[in-house]
Assembly symmetry: C2
Homo-oligomer: 478 residues x 2
């Protein structure tokens, strides 16, 4: 039996929203700032983001992408060049009207996303097919004036990466948009232990200015979906609006084909809500800022502290992110604290263990405890991490499967969405916006995406009865 230790955390099934708030605060991931919707990323929270960054950045670069940094502020005149784009983002903008004690002639918008800046720059530097492809990425924060905010999930400011690329052909650009989506899925599978489903967004849900938007979606413990990243094929729309032209191989002027793609600190929200339990966070080992914590038992007994320090040094030498807590707090306090923080592996080492040249290894995700010989510990770590990661991923896949149902009847659909834990519902759709709007009005669910792997669950759209054209995954979402 798993004993519940942290009474300070609301239980998940009691009040999931409160559980989430408790965890992000008490595991010291964030602090609220004085401005609603803006938050302080504390060391433990920021380190998760650094691990995500370093995983992605390495792969972006291996595939030929280059990092750049664009200005934080966009002239409102520039922002208005692409019509759909400005319509989509204008209502969420933060606007600088004063600079150096003077009123600005052209107000400046804090970037909610940087397409317009990239395009303006591209229009100056791209002249020939030899300049293509341009494969750029930027790490930065963006500001969107959201009304309802939640740490990591929806904030007025968030950290992200935004890739922006230009290509000679539509095919190459579409490949890039799909390939980056694959990379995000891989990030989920290999680093976050979160299974993402991927597919195309409907017209209604696509990015302002895109021809096609693709998304990765994850299912949280409460049965709500989280859009965790998107990639876009822009066609030539931005290029036309910003006059980005290149001379092709035959000497003719052409507009390049464009993409953009991004993931944000929202991913941290998915880790929390997919893996967390009633004692707090459960961090998958590869993304965990601290992978192992060592806790001495009966520290005053001879040799215990020294032995713990030895273990610490050996793990550190093996590039394992390890912490030794030899503070004067009780082991019980420490157990609760590091369970709350979701440290994947706890090592307990006391006088009796020492006598037998062994220690106790406790896995956060299962609470399983095993005894390991001290001289085998370092070598066993990689397999511990791998096993743990795989089990956490498989659990998340199972949980997602258990919360996914197929449906060909709108009354049934409404009944599912009325449940406290509604999950993914796979249902056919005619393709019209009216049905999406009706579903949202009736149930608060939205189309998550149109999976690449299509099946035919019914001939007609269960909402309007017209011919069905697409299988869609529906869910309530963050």
């Amino acid at each position: 039996m798993i004993e519940k230790k942290n009474d300070a955390i609301t239980s998940r099934d009691n009040d999931f929203a409160q559980w989430y708030t408790d965890v992000v605060k008490k595991a010291e991931l964030i602090d609220y700032s004085d401005v609603k919707g803006f938050m302080v990323y504390r060391p433990y929270g920021y380190a998760i983001w650094e691990n995500i960054q370093s995983w992605l950045d390495k792969r972006f670069k291996e595939e030929g992408h280059e990092n750049v940094y664009m200005p934080m502020l966009i002239p409102s005149s520039l922002f208005q060049k692409e019509k759909d784009h400005v319509e989509g983002f204008a209502p969420e903008c933060a606007i600088v009207t004063m600079g150096g004690s003077e009123k600005l002639e052209d107000p400046l918008i804090i970037r909610p996303t940087s397409e317009t800046l990239f395009c303006q720059h591209f229009s100056k530097i791209v002249k020939s097919y030899r300049d293509l492809p341009k494969l750029y990425n930027q790490w930065c924060s963006v500001v969107r004036w959201e009304k309802t905010t939640r740490p990591f999930l929806r904030g007025k400011e968030f950290l992200w990466q935004e890739g922006h690329t230009l290509h000679e052909t539509e095919q190459e650009a579409r490949q890039e948009a799909l390939h980056m989506l694959d990379l995000y899925v891989k990030l989920g599978k290999e680093l976050l232990a979160v299974p993402f489903i991927c597919g195309q967004k409907t017209e209604k849900e696509k990015f302002a200015g895109a021809v096609n938007t693709y998304s990765i979606e994850a299912l949280m413990h409460d049965g709500k979906a989280l859009q965790a990243g998107t990639t876009h094929y822009f066609g030539q729309g931005f290029a036309e609006a910003f006059d980005i032209k290149y001379q092709d191989r035959e000497g003719n002027l052409q507009f390049p084909h464009q993409t953009s793609w991004g993931v944000s600190t929202r991913l941290i929200g998915s880790i929390i809500m997919v893996h967390g339990d009633d004692d707090g966070l459960v961090m998958p080992p590869y993304v965990a800022p601290t992978q192992v914590v060592i806790i001495p038992i009966q520290m005053n007994k001879e040799g215990v502290t020294k032995a713990c320090k030895d273990v610490y040094s050996k793990l550190k030498e093996a590039n394992i992110r390890v912490k030794l807590d030899d503070s004067d707090k009780t082991p019980g306090w420490k157990f609760s604290e590091y369970e709350m923080k979701g440290i994947p592996i706890r090592i307990e080492l006391g006088p009796r263990d020492l006598e037998q040249n062994q220690c106790v290894v406790c896995f956060r995700h299962t609470r399983e405890k095993i005894v390991v010989k001290l001289d085998e510990l370092v070598n066993k770590m990689p397999e511990f991490f791998e096993k743990m990661h795989n089990e956490m991923y498989e659990n998340a896949v199972k949980s997602q499967k258990a919360m996914t149902v197929d449906c060909d009847n709108y009354e049934e659909f409404k009944a599912i969405m009325a449940k406290p834990v509604s999950g993914y519902v796979r249902m056919m759709w005619c393709g019209c916006k009216e049905c999406e709007e009706k579903i949202k009005a009736d149930t608060a669910a939205t189309s998550r995406n149109i999976p690449f792997h299509q099946e035919n669950l019914s001939e007609t759209c269960p909402v309007c009865g017209k011919k069905a054209t697409k299988l869609v995954v529906w869910a309530k979402a963050y």
Copy 2:
């Protein structure tokens, strides 16, 4: 003889400012944006910053510092809590007055620096001596509404790191401020090949809100100084203003002692202006985004491209940042291009070299060319880099010495400062602000800092004739 190849660049001694502008644009470090004072960091410029970041970040962390991320926006009410601080920064602030189509009640300031945000957070999380020291750092961009701007040197937005730490004792905090200054000096010596002189800022030149400010200063080719980084001891002033209190070991409430410290993309300006020549950039090898470029000669001849690719693979495997340019441009065009970009080492490989199993290695900083056997090339790289780095550093030290004079006579001082290349002048000072102001009014020179290693060059201050108290380094500065 060094042949001047890039006519497109103004010569340094003709017009140093224009030379600088030519280099940053033509070496593709930056592009100007549509908003004056904001710039686009292009891949080659941003990669220099990434290398500086990774050098510093590793060392910050090794010494126990943790990264955090604070909000970009500061409520104006919070900003006003520390009196000197707000007076210093208020005139340079960019202010957000609109958010989500509505006027904000409390306008928000885009961070010009984040002391106030760190302090507000510290006041919530620091309770006991057990919580100290707090050793935080943040990587971000800041906005200061400067009137005159120059790429990397002074911009309305720049990238930097800002360290913020809290300590139990004054001594520990002062040690931190001085230690981080040492680390910046080491960065100059080991990565940038730039010698920094360090010392304490005068009262007039110190940071708004600091008890003491320390600086690193570098001397540019045109004899002007560049303040390249600062560290500050804050005492307890901010802690009092923000009510940061902790219970000490005796159970009494105390204000902690505080520091902050930062370097920015200005460092890139110092690399350009210390090492560059009339053909463009000269990048020191350890900070260079591309360390080696391989240029095939007579590519159509059998085996040349293959041999170049082999060399490329071997260097890459050895973790050298290498580029192979096998485009259809002429070798001459490529030579100019990569000289302009200051790539430290160029490898030329043609059919004749291939016959003899060798290549030509050309060093950017001296233009020296040597012949190296292909099978020795990879192993020789570390010594090439080391030699090159040391020579560049020594040259910079020599140049700094040649431009530094001691002076004990104000007329002589004014004559030196009237020269086209004025350099550092070491001169005694009484300690009063009036003399500093007079010097600035007469010569445009400012006190750079008060060196830690003091000497006595005269008994009196050459400006006012009163008793001299400090040796100061003076210079015109960026």
